[in-house]
């Protein structure tokens, strides 16, 4: 469970600021919600909405920005990791094992998140599972790029958006946030690498 601080100027009552502290669920990237919230904030800043209207819009926004079905996300992630693997020059034989292992890894990650397993522990476990599954599958189909296949499978765990956002945060004058993101990204990469490393040891694959 994460905590979030919300601070905003209180336009309606003319007071200085209102700061709230509340519990939120597991964090994740949600572009539809982000876009909707950005538009809503602009409306509120422009004084177009009352408090009750803002609250209504917010509820509606949460309803409209629901996530894609789990099976659809798992298939999409499987395709993404497979395509990433092809960019990394994995051979054609390993396409199916990477697709299946990444899809299963995504579903397991989702379940671990729902059960509030520690994020870094969850990443290591998913990296271990995904790399072992793809490694075994790749051996089964006679792939010549087993170690690369194992790395390609875990690319779903690389925190691309925080890595991308860390630098703009620092350049925009939010060094604390940018640094926190960068450190978080580094720990995530290490957690992922530990999982793959254990997988390589289990399968006695050359590193």
């Amino acid at each position: 469970m994460h905590w979030v601080f919300i601070a905003h100027p209180n336009h309606w009552q003319g007071a200085a600021e209102v700061t709230r502290l509340c519990k939120i669920g597991p964090l994740g990237v949600n572009q539809r919600l982000h876009h909707g919230l950005s538009l809503l904030v602009m409306k509120i800043e422009g004084g177009e909405l009352t408090i009750s209207e803002s609250s209504q819009e917010l509820d509606q926004l949460l309803h409209l920005s629901k996530r894609h079905p789990d099976w659809f996300v798992a298939i999409a992630v499987g395709i993404a990791c497979t395509a990433f693997g092809r960019v990394l020059d994995v051979d054609w034989r390993s396409v199916v094992p990477i697709f299946l292992a990444a899809g299963i890894g995504q579903m397991v990650r989702q379940q671990l998140g729902l059960h509030a397993v520690n994020l870094f522990m969850s990443v290591t476990l998913v990296a271990l599972l995904g790399s072992v599954l793809s490694g075994l599958g790749a051996r089964l189909v006679g792939s010549q790029t087993v170690a690369k296949d194992m790395v390609a499978t875990v690319l779903l765990l690389v925190p691309g958006v925080p890595a991308f956002k860390a630098q703009p945060d620092m350049l925009d004058g939010r060094p604390a946030l940018g640094s926190a993101r960068a450190v978080w990204v580094a720990v995530m990469v290490v957690a992922t690498a530990v999982g793959v490393w254990l997988g390589l040891i289990l399968l006695q694959e050359g590193r």
Binding site: G28, V29, N30, Q31, R32, L33, H34, H35, S38, L39, S65, R67, H68, F72, V73, A76, V77, G78, I79, A80, C81, T82, A83, F84, R86, V87, L88, Q106, V151, A152, V154, L155, L156, V158, G160, V161, A163, F164, K165, V189, V190, T192, A193, V194, V196, W197, L200, R207
Partner: protein, 124 residues
């Protein structure tokens, strides 16, 4: 110019970005644009790499191209540029490289070698 490599990478770039865009909960209507931005990113990076430039320079030019191209997309209520440029640049983030580099460092540590900066650089 290696056209086969260019076609492979731009197609894969489109698939990578579409897949991760679903994970990032981008709307279905925006997925074709996400795919186009991914294809453009890897195509530009390949062209710059094949012109003999380094990976960091190629990634910079590719990200710049994606940013400029997205300025041509009309801003709509359902599609934001922010939802397109971040996924579009995802294939440019060297996640595979970072993972492999960390694995090499683990391997060095496991061997118990006296790792100087030259050894670490060579391992990465």
């Amino acid at each position: 110019m290696d056209r086969l490599c260019l076609t492979n990478d731009s197609t894969c770039g489109a698939l990578v970005v579409s897949g991760f865009a679903v994970l990032f909960n981008v709307g279905r209507k925006s997925l074709p644009l996400c795919a186009a931005s991914g294809a453009l990113a890897l195509a530009v990076r390949d062209v710059v790499l094949q012109a003999g430039h380094r990976m960091d320079a190629a990634s910079f030019v590719a990200a710049l191209a994606v940013g400029f191209a997205l300025q041509l997309v009309p801003s709509q209520a359902t599609v934001s540029r922010g939802a397109l440029d971040v996924p579009g640049c995802i294939p440019l983030i060297p996640g595979g490289f970072a993972t492999k580099a960390t694995l090499r460092l683990f391997a060095l540590t496991a061997q118990g070698s006296d790792a100087t900066s030259e050894v670490i650089t060579a391992a990465i």
